[in-house]
């Protein structure tokens, strides 16, 4: 990435706290929503990872899970929801429709949510198995701890620009 990330002990501790208390905003559109419900259900419990409480307002959440196909019509809505979230924020593209468009390559389905917002972790699968989702959550937690999420890097860069220039 060309940007050295040096973190302090305080930031490490803060990231540790952040990764184990992710408040999700499930932006559910389509079939992957059913698997999201299954992940939150007792068998594949996402509560073990501290991420069980969906906050249905972008202002109160820090993990935007884009669950399901994003259409062109939904693009401005998604962008608006992402912009309303406070930093630091992370995005998981849940399912292959949110990652690349899946097998919907047509005039209405956007080829991935990353056409509109920066995505940190992509989960392939149509729909992905709940174990894949939990694995992705663990990958994201690693990213959060190391400070490599898009919004964290952006914040770091702006900080360096302010201090250096």
């Amino acid at each position: 990435m060309g940007l050295e990330i040096t973190t302090t002990r305080l930031e490490d501790a803060a990231n540790w706290g952040r990764k184990f208390s992710l408040f999700t905003y499930p932006f559910v559109t389509a079939c992957c929503g059913m698997e999201f419900m299954s992940v939150a259900a007792p068998k594949y419990d996402i509560a073990r990872f501290g991420a069980e409480f969906p906050r249905f307002s972008p202002r109160q959440s820090d993990l935007l899970m884009v669950v399901g196909t994003i259409t062109e019509r939904q693009g401005p809505v998604l962008k608006r929801v992402y912009d309303q979230m406070a930093e630091p924020k992370w995005v998981i593209a849940f399912g292959v429709c949110a990652s690349t468009g899946g097998f919907y390559q047509n005039y209405s389905a956007m080829p991935g949510a990353d056409q509109v917002i920066p995505v940190d972790v992509y989960i392939p699968g149509c729909p992905p198995r709940p174990e894949q989702v939990l694995d992705a959550l663990m990958l994201l937690m690693k990213k959060v701890q190391e400070g490599r999420g898009h919004s964290q890097v952006r914040h770091k860069r702006e900080q360096l620009v302010r201090e250096g220039g």
């Binding site: 932006f27 419900m37 259900a41 969906p54 259409t71 097998f103 919907y104 047509n106 005039y107 209405s108």
Partner: protein
């Protein structure tokens, strides 16, 4: 004292209170946007409200338009099965079966599908219907604040998903049915597992009914909310549990029996007023009737082939494909060109989780359809929402919308 009583109890008293005060009020436009926890999937409702009361509304679907028809014009008949899975994604087998029946009607082989395949199709359709109703009732109850029935139903649904995963390989979007039959046979322990599961599922249903049926809060929020008359429902094209809750006894499995439904005994629950509580009761009763049908089907299913033995329609058995050149060429032509269907148009319909699910297929003689239109019950039922919610409070929109069971994939195709 009398004033306090008026303020606290019931909605009729609140309406009187509004008129008494004669405050100058303006109508306000509120947006229940496409990303909303109570809008199952994505639908936008632009409400014009007078205080808390909805005056008029504009329901705007289409935020999940994934171009099922356009994609199916570019895919072979067998490649369309995954697209049909994702139409009503909580009862995918029913969509598969409906589409397969439409193409078989055009091919003229509808009555030659093997009996075992027909029984298997009925079994998986009814399991899908159970998952549909479980998700609908569970999610609606959760939105009204009852989180426990949702988790109990999700537990039951998880067992069904595991069973169907052993059968077809996928948890949610199976693509299990093929033109002329089904893709794989039932697993060896399917009968015992399903019987055991049905017994456990009945216990779950008993628990949830005990929690919800006589629950004061649940009944207050659902009873009397969103009543719909039978004539209006028919004129709006409503079908399925919502129409049956209005008092009209129309079930495609009884009136136009297809597959082996004429050999199964079951009752069709019919409601009276069409309000949300009736729809809830109809759905719960349908789960029980589906379980009854599953037991009978498991008892009566014969042995035999699971796909039609017609080279125009079915892939050859793998042993032949790997060993004879003719079978390999046949396999190749099926995959690359698709099943050649004679030119024509046909419409075939099944009872989906939300109503009459039909597929209108126009073929031109090649292996890809010229047009494949899906008559989606959610789209037509959602049209009634605008009429139903006018005059109700904003918080009544949640049970009304939940009980319509609008599935985004089916509504927006």
């Amino acid at each position: 004292m009398a004033e306090i009583k008026k303020l606290v109890l019931g909605r009729r008293e609140a309406a009187d209170l509004d008129e008494e005060q004669e405050l100058p009020t303006e109508l306000m436009t509120v947006n229940m946007g496409p990303s909303h926890p109570a809008m199952h999937g994505t639908v936008r409702i632009v409400l014009t409200v007078d205080g808390e009361r909805v005056v008029e509304s504009d329901v705007q679907p289409g935020y999940l338009h994934r171009c099922f028809e356009k994609e199916s014009e570019h895919a072979t008949y067998t490649q369309i099965f995954p697209y049909t899975d994702r139409l009503n994604y909580i009862s995918p087998m029913i969509n598969n079966v409906g589409y397969a029946m439409a193409v078989e009607k055009l091919l003229g082989v509808a009555d030659r599908v093997p009996l075992r395949a027909q029984y298997i199709r009925v079994i998986v359709s009814e399991i899908s219907r159970i998952t549909d109703h479980l998700t609908c009732v569970g999610a609606s109850a959760m939105e009204l604040g009852a989180f426990t029935p949702f988790l109990y139903f999700l537990k039951f649904r998880e067992w069904l998903f595991e069973l169907l995963e052993e059968l077809s390989g996928a948890r949610l979007t199976y693509s299990y049915v093929r033109i002329g039959g089904v893709a794989h046979d039932l697993t060896p322990d399917f009968h015992e597992r399903l019987t055991d599961l049905l017994a456990r599922g009945e216990e779950v249903l008993v628990e949830v009914e005990a929690m919800l049926n006589n629950n004061r809060i649940f009944r207050d929020r659902m009873e009397g909310v969103g009543p719909f008359s039978a004539e209006d429902a028919i004129a709006f094209g409503m079908t399925g549990p919502c129409l049956r809750a209005c008092g009209v006894d129309y079930d495609i499995r009884k009136d136009y029996p297809y597959l082996v439904y004429d050999r199964l005994e079951f009752d069709v629950p019919v409601g009276t007023t069409g309000d949300c509580f009736d729809r809830y009761l109809v759905r719960i009763e349908e789960i029980k009737q589906s379980m009854r049908m599953l037991r009978q089907a498991l008892r009566d299913i014969p042995a035999g082939p699971i796909i039609l033995d017609d080279p125009r329609v079915a892939l050859p058995p793998k042993k032949e494909t790997y060993n004879t050149i003719e079978a390999m060429i046949r396999h190749f032509k099926h995959i690359v060109d698709g099943i050649r269907v004679a030119p024509g148009e046909a419409y075939s319909f099944v009872e989906g989780g939300n109503g009459e699910l039909g597929f209108f297929v126009v073929s031109d003689g090649t292996g890809r359809p010229w047009k494949c239109y899906c008559r989606s019950p959610s789209f037509i039922n959602t049209q009634t929402v605008s009429r139903t919610i006018s005059g109700h409070l904003i918080s009544d929109i949640v049970p009304i919308f939940g009980m319509i069971n609008m599935i985004g994939g089916e509504c927006d195709k």
